[in-house]
């Protein structure tokens, strides 16, 4: 179906008809078929085990461990609580190095654990935290390095392993984006001391809310289970605990989602390729792709916009797309270092991350997931091409305040 827009005033932002009758979300929102969900829930009701590391949570952990080729999987209520438990389990103190170009929960997990963030700039091409920059930030107060596998792509695991080893501090990863991805053909989940995945509904693996912590360290796994109140036997001493249990309902959803992973991954890959094939040829647009030879979940379609070449800046394009019901997202804008709490409490980082600042103004995500199809993607691309062709006429929109 053609977009049906001929002149700039046909755009919804200028009073024209909206291109999509229903909003197109960025998140995956991979719901199982209703009958499968109903069957799983009836099983829970029959067993009368609702939480407290029930049979489905145990089964989910076992299947995840097999899928990720990792020794221990500890399922948790959500990834943020997983990261908070990880900070306690690793015995972190003082300061931890992490990027500011990530979701704010990465830093919040440290703050709640009483640890100060040290924000590190990122590589302009991969968007991953830059090991060379991190090396400059190392000092005696740094108790760990938290890498983030942004967009599911590997965050220089070899380089950070060496850096952490050289300074004798633990390395761990926020792998919220990276379920099913590999680095050097090795599954994410096996790097550093531990890695934390997210199973939020917008992620490829959906447990409504949820997440897991992976580790190959027996002692760390036991500490994590005790800290997150999953193991209530109190066999070991821990500094403090906080309820991070995954319920049986979450585990049921997660198991169904894991069954669906191969076909959902293929769908995401098809969508990603469809976007990349078209938009990659547009002036000023670049779609982030996984490194050659690596597995990816392709759950994010990340587009970087060069305003000079495209003709309009990211925020203007974002506004135009939103008006057409294309609910693209400006992840991450602003960066954590310029967000509430962190800009006031750690002002030394506000003007110290130039690459992060540039990416925060030029990156956006396009809709993907279960609510999309190839025809919608084609129309989104057509819309972006239409905006590019009419960029000059649309310049005045750029001066409007952004919603």
């Amino acid at each position: 179906m053609s977009l049906g827009k001929i002149k700039p005033t046909d755009l919804a932002i200028l009073g024209g008809p909206v291109a999509f009758s229903a909003p197109l979300p960025v998140g995956q929102l991979n719901f199982p078929e209703w009958q499968r969900f109903e069957e799983a829930m009836r099983g829970i009701f029959a067993r009368r085990d609702y939480t407290d590391h029930g049979p489905l949570a145990q089964q989910f952990e076992a299947k995840l461990a097999e899928f990720l080729h990792v020794k221990h999987v500890v399922c948790v209520a959500n990834a943020t609580i997983g990261l908070m438990a990880a900070a306690v389990a690793l015995g972190l103190r003082g300061k931890v190095i992490l990027p500011a170009f990530t979701f704010i929960a990465s830093a919040q997990s440290l703050t709640w654990a009483g640890i100060s963030p040290v924000f590190c700039d990122v590589d302009p091409h991969t968007h991953q935290m830059d090991p060379a920059q991190a090396a400059l930030l190392m000092n005696k107060d740094i108790s760990a390095i938290m890498g983030v596998h942004l967009w599911g792509n590997p965050c220089f695991p070899d380089e950070f392993r060496e850096l952490a080893r050289d300074h004798n501090v633990p390395l761990y990863f926020d792998a919220a984006h990276a379920f099913g991805c590999t680095a050097g053909s090795k599954p994410v989940g096996n790097f550093g001391e531990l890695e934390v995945f997210s199973f939020h509904a917008t992620k490829i693996l959906n447990a409504a809310e949820g997440g897991c912590v992976c580790t190959n360290d027996d002692g760390l796994a036991e500490r994590l289970r005790t800290i997150a109140c999953i193991d209530s036997t109190e066999r070991i001493d821990i500094p403090l605990a906080g309820n991070g249990r995954m319920s049986e309902a979450q585990a049921a959803l997660g198991l169904l989602s894991l069954e669906d992973y191969p076909k959902v991954q293929q769908r995401n890959r098809d969508y990603h390729e469809a976007y990349r094939r078209v938009l990659g040829g547009f002036p000023g647009l670049r779609i982030q792709s996984p490194p050659s030879g690596e597995m990816s979940n392709y759950q994010y379609v990340v587009m970087e916009i060069s305003a000079d070449e495209f003709g309009l800046d990211r925020d203007t394009l974002w506004s135009i797309l939103h008006a057409e019901n294309v609910i693209s997202r400006r992840y991450f804008s602003p960066g954590i270092h310029r967000s509430y709490y962190y800009r006031d409490n750690y002002p030394e980082f506000v003007n110290s991350l130039p690459v992060t600042d540039r990416l925060c103004e030029s990156v956006m995500q396009l809709p993907s997931g279960q609510d999309m199809d190839l025809e919608k993607i084609s129309r989104v691309c057509e819309l972006i091409w239409f905006v590019h062709r009419n960029a000059k006429a649309l310049k005045p929109i750029a001066r409007r305040p952004i919603r």
Binding site: L29, F31, M41, N78, I81, M84, E209, G242, Y340
Partner: protein, 428 residues
């Protein structure tokens, strides 16, 4: 809980309606312990074939659950303050006669966030009881606060006004009152104290859900009250919790903080974390809420059954509910008095062997637990006394009235034969 059938030859007294009657247990097909070797701890057959965890409650009305959950699928919303969470919050606010309710993925994280909002004065100390939920001090530590443990009274199991005031100083940021099982704390007196000393007052009302105080429903006292909807609680939301408050600013802040501090899609306005309740858990909680009055009725009936079967058992004092007020009758709490012939640990060991999930009450108390954070306290002899002598007995929808009678029968047997049991246990 499954029961093993079999012949019964046992008799005891019942005090139903305050009248002492001879009761012939043989009419009820209740298994009975006739000799010490019948006790499972000594190799006999357990009274129940399987032990069910406290979380294994009766199944919800499945069709009602699916009606709610279908809305989540139809609207393609599984989390992020979805319509079921909003409906649940409206209905809970109504139940508690509070202006606002904010739901969380767990009551603990709601408390952490509320504590960090309320701790705006003093030196970061919170006055709280030691005789309470085992992770309550951890919750304070997550909020960056130092627990100062105060004493409780023998009569109410709760901290009195004097107990709390004894622990207050210039470092006190606020008072955390944790209602004990069965009884309520002195809400009026503690509210007056907080007002007089100009400190916020937060209630952990997990154990007081559904209760009333001088006719007013729990949920609108102090600056806020916190409740749990863990599967073992009165309301089962798998894992869930909520806070009620009449403070609009606090409610608004908590709503942002539970979702990373976001206001809208991109603006972060608070230091938050992920404490969001998902829609499937909200659906479960709504079904449970629909059935709450029936559940309380069944709890009350079981409590009365316990009154009946424990009446003749000397050495065990059932802690009585104040039935003139609204109560959930969720916990069956007993004190093992000086007349009880066994140590508590022995009693629990025997009951566990019988597949009866009896638990020590608030033991060890928080001040005797090893932690990685600083705490403060004075001597707490009453707390230690209570935590060493009280037991919560099996309860919940999986326990039939005849199951209650079996529990009573076993306790009666222990009371009669305790003098022989204790040395045999110690001699193993």
């Amino acid at each position: 809980m499954r029961r093993i059938g079999g012949p019964l030859r046992f008799a005891s007294f019942s005090n139903q309606a305050g009248v002492w009657l001879w009761r012939d247990w043989t009419k009820d097909n209740i298994p009975v312990k006739k000799s010490l070797s019948d006790l499972a701890v000594f190799g006999g057959t357990p009274s129940f074939t399987e032990i069910r965890s406290a979380a294994s409650l009766s199944p919800p009305d499945a069709e009602a659950f699916f009606d709610y959950a279908k809305r989540s699928f139809d609207s393609r919303r599984l989390t992020n303050n979805g319509p079921l969470v909003q409906l649940l919050e409206r209905r809970l606010a109504e139940l508690h006669q509070a202006r606002f309710c904010v739901a969380f993925c767990g009551g603990s994280w709601g408390l952490v966030l509320a504590m960090s909002c309320l701790a705006t004065r003093g030196g970061g100390e919170i006055v709280m009881p030691s005789l309470t939920y085992r992770h309550l001090a951890d919750i304070a530590a997550w909020a960056g606060l130092t627990p100062r443990f105060c004493e409780v009274s023998r009569e109410t199991l709760a901290s009195s006004v004097a107990d709390v005031e004894d622990c207050m100083n210039e470092r006190t940021a606020f008072i955390l009152v944790a209602h004990p099982s069965v009884h309520l704390a002195d809400i009026g007196g503690l509210t007056a104290l907080a007002t007089r000393r100009h400190v916020p007052l937060l209630f952990d009302s997990v154990e007081a859900a559904y209760a009333s105080y001088h006719g007013s429903t729990i949920g609108s006292f102090g600056n806020a009250e916190c409740f749990s909807m863990h599967a073992s609680q009165l309301l089962n939301g798998f894992e869930a919790g909520y806070l009620t408050t009449n403070d609009e600013t606090l409610a608004s802040r908590l709503r942002k903080m539970r979702g990373f501090g976001f206001f809208g899609q991109e603006n972060v306005e608070e230091l938050g974390l992920n404490a969001k309740l998902n829609e499937i858990h909200a659906a479960m909680a709504l079904v449970s809420l629909d059935d709450i009055h029936n559940r309380v009725r069944r709890n009350r009936e079981r409590y009365h059954a316990y009154q009946e079967v424990l009446g003749p058992v000397s050495g065990i004092r059932l802690v009585p509910y104040e039935e003139a007020e609204k109560r959930a009758f969720k916990t069956i709490l007993v004190e093992l008095t000086d007349a009880w012939p066994l140590r508590r640990s022995q009693t629990l060991e025997i009951m566990h062997a019988e597949n009866m999930p009896a638990l020590p009450y608030c033991s060890p108390p928080l001040h005797l637990r090893k932690t990685g954070y600083r705490t403060a306290r004075g001597a707490l002899p009453v707390t230690e006394f209570i935590s060493g002598r009280y037991v919560t007995l099996p309860n919940g929808d999986l326990l039939s009235h005849s199951d209650v009678e079996i529990v009573g029968q076993v306790l009666h047997f222990l009371q009669n034969h305790g003098a022989s049991i204790a040395p045999r246990l110690e001699g193993r």
